[in-house]
């Protein structure tokens, strides 16, 4: 690789850009600090009721207590449920999409059902799930899968079907069968779609897991939130929410990284 030397003008331009990025980052941090600071000041001055609104210091205190207690158990429970439902809904969704891709007839038969299931607020199925699989982690995972599997199926199938007609024709001129077309064209062509879909799916799994935990749970961040609400411990509710935020963001970043790596590997 040859090192490119830019003109003075261009370097100046780059410097200005870099400085702007730094300023923006600083401002972003400042907003957070100001928000927390203001919240704390107002709570200390008793302008707002810290029993209802809590305060950053109280939340931090709760967090420190939880860390000494069983925060890890809750975090691990929720993570386990989320990752499991994420992986399962991806596997199930992709399998269904493949089956529907294989047969036009099956796809057309399934279409209205998919639309209806997709439109249905899955939480409505909560009681049925609990009765069928029992109240416990199984029910939570089932709930989470239900929430993200339909959207995974629909997105993946849409990607599969929108492979360019010309590339499909190329496979026909090479006398490829359906399996070969799937493996050599449809899958690789859709890796970017699948990766983008995973990012949505990860969010859905969190929604599903927390919803599931609201319904039935003995542990997990969703459990902490519901429990905190019931005993009017708003600091606990907010603390669990912040931990959830951080975890969800981390997982999203991980999937986004995976997407980058995969896209680079297939030369995009």
């Amino acid at each position: 690789m040859q090192k490119i030397t830019y003109s003075i003008e261009h370097r100046r331009f780059l410097n200005v850009q870099k400085r702007r990025t730094v300023v923006i980052r600083l401002l972003q941090a400042a907003v957070l600090v100001a928000f927390l600071g203001l919240w704390q000041i107002l709570a200390d001055a008793e302008v707002i009721d810290s029993f209802i609104a809590s305060s950053p210091a109280k939340i931090w205190q709760t967090f420190a207590d939880l860390c000494r207690g069983d925060l890890w158990r809750h975090v691990l429970t929720t993570l386990y449920e989320t990752v499991l439902s994420f992986v399962l809904s991806f596997a199930i969704g992709t399998t269904i999409a493949v089956l529907l891709w294989f047969s036009d007839t099956v796809r057309r038969v399934a279409e209205p059902y998919l639309v209806v299931i997709n439109a249905l607020p899955k939480i409505a199925l909560g009681p049925i799930i609990i009765i069928w699989v029992g109240a416990g982690i199984k029910a939570i995972v089932a709930m989470a899968i239900l929430i993200s599997v339909v959207i995974t199926t629909i997105n993946t199938l849409t990607g599969f079907i929108s492979v360019s007609a010309e590339k499909m024709l190329l496979m026909r001129t090479l006398h490829a069968n359906k399996w070969q077309t799937l493996w050599k064209l449809v899958f690789p062509a859709n890796l970017p779609t699948v990766m983008a879909c995973l990012k949505i799916s990860v969010g859905m799994s969190w929604v599903g897991t927390i919803m599931g935990e609201y319904l039935v749970s003995k542990a997990g961040l969703g459990y902490l939130i519901v429990y905190g609400g019931q005993v009017f411990n708003l600091s606990l509710v907010m603390c669990a929410t912040v931990v959830l935020c951080v975890l969800a963001a981390l997982m999203y970043v991980l999937v986004a990284l995976l997407e980058k790596v995969v896209n680079r590997c297939i030369g995009l």
């Binding site: 010309e166 590339k167 024709l169 190329l170 496979m171 026909r172 001129t173 090479l174 006398h175 490829a176 070969q180 050599k184 064209l185 690789p188 062509a189 890796l191 297939i266 030369g267 995009l268």
Partner: protein, 261 residues
């Protein structure tokens, strides 16, 4: 009988909106080693005709014979509009695609692929991705992907239409030279008359939809495509085909008598 024969071929597309007669009573004979051109307005049914020759579309009526027998898999190579290389495969793996599908990745066939890449200047680029290559090289890679399967005849469906004018002429010349060098028969579909004259030995002009064979021209100009373009006979030939092709001639601004109002 030629190498490729079309006997009374007609084709109708059926869709919910109705039926479209795309080809009507096509009789064609393509001889071995010939570079056969098909020229016609767009939407006339040229792609349909090639798909039938390639055996990916079964005609509603008529027969297609390759050396007097029905077309078999792998005997006819097909080059599509735009190269359709897979962006996620290297040039080398793109070239091997047909062999993988035919489950024929033997040492012999792979060696043949290597030889073709070397002969036509793509060997150094084998581990590059299509996105890193120029339009001309991509087109050559697409041609090699076809040749690897050792077809007897190559069908080309406006393979240069996506290229800009300058590259187009040199890529066309390139592809022409490779096909001649490999001693293959070719059928080239285009709506570009000059392209047809500069490359083909014989040109069939088809009418607007439904496509029928309107007339067949022998191109008696020798040389490569640039030499042909400079030959004085070229303009005359162009004019003859243009006249045959111009179905809207009566409607042309220049032919219309100004109406007196």
């Amino acid at each position: 009988m030629g190498q490729l024969d079309l006997v009374e071929v007609s084709h109708t597309y059926h869709s919910k909106r109705g039926e479209t007669l795309a080809l009507k009573d096509i009789n064609l004979q393509v001889n071995e080693g010939q570079f056969f051109g098909i020229v016609g307005p767009s939407g006339s049914g040229k792609t349909t005709l090639l798909s039938i020759m390639a055996g990916v579309l079964v005609p509603s009526k008529g027969r297609v014979l390759l050396n007097g027998a029905p077309v078999q898999a792998g005997k006819v190579g097909y080059m599509l509009q735009r190269d359709q290389l897979f962006e996620w495969r290297t040039i080398w793996r793109n070239v091997l695609l047909g062999l993988e599908i035919a489950k024929n990745k033997t040492p012999d066939s792979v060696a043949h692929a290597e030889e073709l890449l070397r002969k036509y200047g793509l060997w150094e680029f084998r581990s590059r991705y299509p996105g890193e290559l120029s339009g001309g090289m991509r087109q050559r890679a697409a041609l090699i992907r076809t040749l690897v399967l050792k077809p007897q005849i190559v069908l080309l469906d406006e393979p240069f239409s996506a290229l800009d004018f300058q590259t187009r002429i040199s890529v066309a010349e390139d592809v022409h030279a490779i096909i001649k060098n490999e001693g293959l028969t070719a059928v080239l579909v285009t709506h570009d008359i000059s392209e047809a004259i500069s490359l083909c030995d014989r040109i069939a002009v088809v009418t607007a939809r439904p496509a029928t064979i309107k007339s067949i021209f022998e191109v008696s100009i020798d040389g490569n495509s640039l030499e042909r373009r400079e030959n004085p006979q070229y303009a005359a030939m162009f004019k003859r085909i243009w006249k045959e092709l111009d179905v809207y001639a009566e409607d042309n601004v220049f032919n219309r008598t100004p109406s007196v109002s």
